[in-house]
C-alpha cells in the first residue's frame, strides 16, 4: 500500500463515503468519544495552551537542527551495536529491509502498527520476496484479514467498520464462531496472534519518537503487540520518518504527554517503551540484532518551505477527530493513507498535486484542526497556502472558477464597478426568484448551492442605498455617507 489508496476521482470517493451509513455512524460516534476523552485529559492537565506552546517550540527547534539530531541519533545507535540505514526513497528502504530479512533467512514477519511502512508499501515488497507478513495491531489485523482494506484513520485504522462487519470478516476468514462483542473478537485475535509472535523470525515496528541523546526508539501503544514484536523475534527492524525525533528524554516527556492525551485521551498509554540497543549479554528476550531505517521519501523537500511546520506532526489524529468534513466523508474519501486535515496538507506535499488537488479544498477552513493540534501546526493556513499554490503556481484551478475570480479581482478593484455589479444584481437574478423572495433553482455555480438550500434574492434596495437616502432625508449628516 502506498500513500495513495482507493480508486476513482475525488467526487466519486466522497459520494461513496456519503452513501455509507455504517461508516458514517461509526465515524461520528468515534469522533464524539475521542473528543470527550481528550477534553477530560486536557482539563486535568490544566494549562493546556502552555503545553501546546512548549510542544511547538520543541518540534520547531528539532526540525531546525534535524541534521544534527539525526547524526547524533545514528552515532548513538551504532555505538550501542545497532545498524542504521538512511533511506532517501521508499525503494531504498524496502530493498534494505528485504535484504536484512533474507540474510536472516526470515520467513515470518510480525509487525506493530506503523504508518510509515504503509507509506512505503513495505508489506507488499516483503510478500513478493516470499515472506509472510502479519500485522498485529488489532485494527491493522482486521484490515489485513479483510483482504487488505486500507486504513481510514491514522490511530484507529479500522474506524470505518462496525463490530458486526468485523465479526463477519472473522467468521469468513478466521473460523470465528462467537458474537460481535469487541471483547470476544479481541480475544480471538489474541489467541491467533500469540502463536505468530512466538514463531516469528523478524519484528518490524514504526517509531513514535527516537531520542537523539541515547539512540533510543520509543513506541507508544496500548495493546502490547509492539512489546511482543520487540521482545520475541531475534531480529528487529524499526522504520521511522526522519522527523520523528526528540533531542533528549526530557523533551520526550512533553511530546508523549501531548500525544497520549491528544490521540486517545489517556494520561499515558498502557505501554510507553524505550528500546536502546540489541539485547546485552545474558539477556534472553529482546532482539539479537537491531536495524533502524530512517526515511526521507519526500520529507526533506518540505524543509525550508512555507510548509515546514507540517513536519511538526506527531501523528496523534486530533485534527482528524474534530474535522467536520472527515466526519461526513470518512477516511477513504481522501484517497490517502493520511486522511483528514493533516492528510490534506501532507499528501500533496509527498505525492504532488496531480492526484490530490481537491484535498486542500475539502475544508471549510473552520480551523477546528489548528485549534486541536497539540503542536500548533496551523493546518487551516497550510490548506489555504496549498490553494494559493494550486491556483497561482500549478495553474490547476478550473477555468470557470478562474474567470469568476478574475472578474472578482477586476470588479473589486474599483468601487464603481462593484457598485454597478451589486446594483444590477436584483435585475439579473429576477428570473430565478420564487414567491418567498428566495431562489431555489440557481444558475451556474449557484446550482450546487440551490440543490440543497434556498438562496436569498438580492434586496431591491441595497443597504448602501438606504444609507444614502437616510443621509439625504436628514436622518444623518450627509458627510457621514462619505466617499
Amino acid at each position: 500500500m502506498a500513500i495513495k489508496i482507493g480508486e476513482g476521482p475525488f467526487n466519486q470517493r466522497v459520494e461513496k463515503g456519503l452513501n455509507n451509513p455504517v461508516m458514517r455512524g461509526a465515524v461520528s460516534s468515534a469522533q464524539e468519544r475521542f473528543q470527550q476523552r481528550k477534553a477530560n485529559a486536557m482539563e486535568e492537565l490544566g494549562n493546556w495552551e502552555e503545553w501546546r506552546s512548549l510542544g511547538e517550540e520543541i518540534r520547531q527547534h528539532t526540525l531546525e537542527h534535524l541534521d544534527f539530531y539525526l547524526n547524533q541519533l545514528s552515532e548513538n545507535v551504532t555505538k550501542r551495536g545497532g545498524h542504521v540505514f538512511f533511506a532517501a526513497t521508499a525503494e531504498d528502504a524496502n530493498h534494505y529491509i528485504r535484504d536484512v530479512v533474507q540474510s536472516k533467512n526470515g520467513k515470518k514477519v510480525v509487525k506493530s502498527k506503523s504508518m510509515v511502512t504503509e507509506e512505503i508499501s513495505l508489506n507488499s515488497c516483503l510478500e513478493k520476496a516470499g515472506c509472510e507478513v502479519i500485522e498485529t495491531d488489532l485494527g491493522e489485523y482486521i484490515l489485513q484479514v479483510d483482504d487488505h482494506d486500507p486504513p481510514s484513520h491514522i490511530v484507529a485504522p479500522a474506524l470505518h467498520k462496525n463490530k458486526e462487519q468485523i465479526r463477519d470478516v472473522f467468521k469468513e476468514k478466521l473460523n470465528y464462531t462467537k458474537s460481535e462483542m469487541p471483547e470476544e473478537l479481541a480475544l480471538h485475535a489474541r489467541e491467533l496472534l500469540r502463536k505468530e509472535f512466538l514463531s516469528a523470525d523478524i519484528g518490524i515496528t514504526g517509531c513514535n519518537f527516537a531520542v537523539a541523546e541515547s539512540g533510543s526508539i520509543t513506541l507508544v501503544t496500548n495493546e502490547g503487540n509492539a512489546r511482543l514484536v520487540t521482545s520475541l523475534p531475534k531480529t528487529q527492524i524499526t522504520v521511522m520518518g526522519m522527523e520523528r525525533i526528540v533531542p533528549t528524554f526530557e523533551e520526550l516527556d512533553i511530546l508523549v504527554s501531548l500525544l497520549t492525551r491528544s490521540a486517545v485521551g489517556q494520561k499515558l498509554t498502557s505501554y510507553v517503551t524505550a528500546l536502546t540497543r540489541p539485547r546485552m549479554e545474558d539477556e534472553v528476550d529482546g532482539p539479537e540484532e537491531f536495524h533502524l531505517v530512517i526515511i526521507d521519501n519526500g520529507r526533506s523537500s518540505i524543509l525550508g518551505t512555507d510548509f515546514q511546520s507540517v513536519l511538526q506532526c506527531i501523528r496523534c489524529a486530533a485534527c482528524i477527530n474534530v474535522c467536520p468534513v472527515y466526519r461526513h466523508v470518512g477516511g477513504h474519501s481522501y484517497g490517502s493513507i493520511y486522511p483528514g486535515p493533516i492528510g490534506a496538507v501532507l499528501t500533496p506535499l509527498l505525492e504532488g498535486y496531480e492526484d490530490h488537488k481537491e484535498l486542500p479544498y475539502a475544508s471549510t477552513l473552520c480551523a477546528a484542526c489548528s485549534e486541536a493540534c497539540p503542536v500548533k501546526i496551523p493546518l487551516h493556513d497550510l490548506l489555504h497556502k496549498h490553494r494559493q499554490v494550486i491556483v497561482e503556481r500549478e495553474g490547476k484551478a478550473p477555468v470557470s472558477e478562474k474567470l469568476i475570480m478574475k472578474a472578482f479581482g477586476f470588479g473589486t478593484s474599483s468601487s464603481t464597478l462593484y457598485q454597478m455589479g451589486s446594483k444590477f444584481a436584483p435585475m439579473a437574478m429576477k428570473p430565478f426568484v420564487g414567491e418567498n423572495q428566495s431562489i431555489s433553482k440557481g444558475p451556474g455555480p449557484l446550482k450546487s448551492w440551490t440543490d440543497s438550500r434556498d438562496f436569498p434574492a438580492p434586496d431591491q434596495e441595497r443597504f448602501r442605498d438606504w444609507m444614502k437616502s437616510r443621509a439625504k432625508g436628514g436622518h444623518m449628516d450627509e458627510n457621514r455617507y462619505r466617499s
Binding site: 520543541i58 544534527f68 489474541r190 496500548n222 539477556e283
Partner: protein, 232 residues
C-alpha cells in the same frame, strides 16, 4: 560491544542541511532552553500521601486493582491473596533481591513459581508464556498516570510483565514520583553520566487494552488481561 554499521548518512544529512540553508551538517547545537516548563508544576507540592491518593484514584481509570499494605509484614499475605484472586500459578518473577529483602522468599517455595534464569535461555520465554501471573517490582512509579517504570536487565526480563495472563507490580512507596517528568529526568541524567542504559525501559500503565473496534475500550489484548498494583 560490536559497533553497528551506518549507510548513506552523509548524502542524506547534507541534503537536509542544504534545505535548512546550511553548507555543512551542524556539528554542535547548544542545549535548548525552553521558554516554559509546565511539567514541573504538576503535583509539584504534593506530599507522599497525596501522591498515593492520586495513584489510587488513577488505578480506577486504568482498570487496575490497587491494594495498599500498611504494615510491611503483611506484604506476603496480601500478595498471596492477590495471587489467589487471579487464580494462582503458574507464576514467573524477576530474579530480584527485593523479593528477599521484603520477606517474600516463601513465594519461591511454591512449586509453580519460576524465577527468570538467564542460564536456561529460551525456556524462560516458554515459562513466561505459560504463566498465569507475572510479578515484578516497580523501579519508579508515576502517580499522575498510574504508571510503573521497569528497567530491564538480564535478570529483569521485559517479558515477565508482558506474556503472562495477569500481572502484579510490587510498588515501594519510596518509588513514587509525581509524573513522567521525574522518570525521564532520571534517565536523562543516567545518559549524561555515562551509565549504561537498560536495553528496554517500560512505562506500564495498567493492563493492555484496545479501542480499535468502534472506539470501545477492551481491556486485555496482547499483553496482560488483568493488572494489580500492591503498594507497600
Amino acid at each position: 560491544m560490536k559497533i553497528g554499521t551506518v549507510h548513506n548518512r552523509d548524502s542524506f544529512l547534507e541534503n537536509i542541511s542544504s534545505r535548512l540553508g546550511r553548507d555543512t551538517i551542524e556539528t554542535t547545537v547548544a542545549q535548548p532552553q525552553w521558554s516554559s516548563s509546565p511539567q514541573n508544576r504538576v503535583l509539584e507540592n504534593a506530599t507522599k500521601e497525596e501522591l498515593i491518593t492520586v495513584l489510587e484514584k488513577q488505578c480506577q481509570v486504568i482498570h487496575t486493582d490497587f491494594v495498599r499494605v500498611k504494615q510491611e509484614n503483611k506484604l506476603l499475605e496480601t500478595l498471596n491473596q492477590v495471587i489467589e484472586s487471579y487464580g494462582g500459578g503458574p507464576i514467573i518473577t524477576w530474579d530480584d533481591p527485593r523479593f528477599e529483602q521484603h520477606g517474600l522468599s516463601s513465594l519461591f517455595e511454591r512449586n509453580d513459581t519460576s524465577m527468570w534464569n538467564p542460564s536456561i535461555d529460551d525456556k524462560n520465554i516458554t515459562l513466561a508464556e505459560q504463566a498465569n501471573i507475572g510479578i515484578t517490582f516497580s523501579d519508579i512509579t508515576l502517580a499522575e498516570s498510574g504508571t510503573v517504570v521497569l528497567f530491564s536487565g538480564a535478570k529483569k526480563a521485559t517479558t515477565v510483565s508482558l506474556l503472562p495472563t495477569n500481572y502484579i507490580a510490587l510498588i515501594p512507596v519510596t518509588s513514587i514520583v509525581p509524573r513522567m517528568t521525574q522518570a525521564t529526568t532520571i534517565i536523562h541524567n543516567k545518559i549524561q553520566d555515562g551509565t549504561v542504559l537498560s536495553s528496554c525501559i517500560n512505562f506500564i500503565t495498567g493492563p493492555s487494552n484496545s479501542a480499535d473496534i468502534e472506539m470501545k475500550l477492551i481491556v486485555g489484548v496482547h499483553g496482560p488481561i488483568k493488572t494489580a498494583y500492591i503498594l507497600f
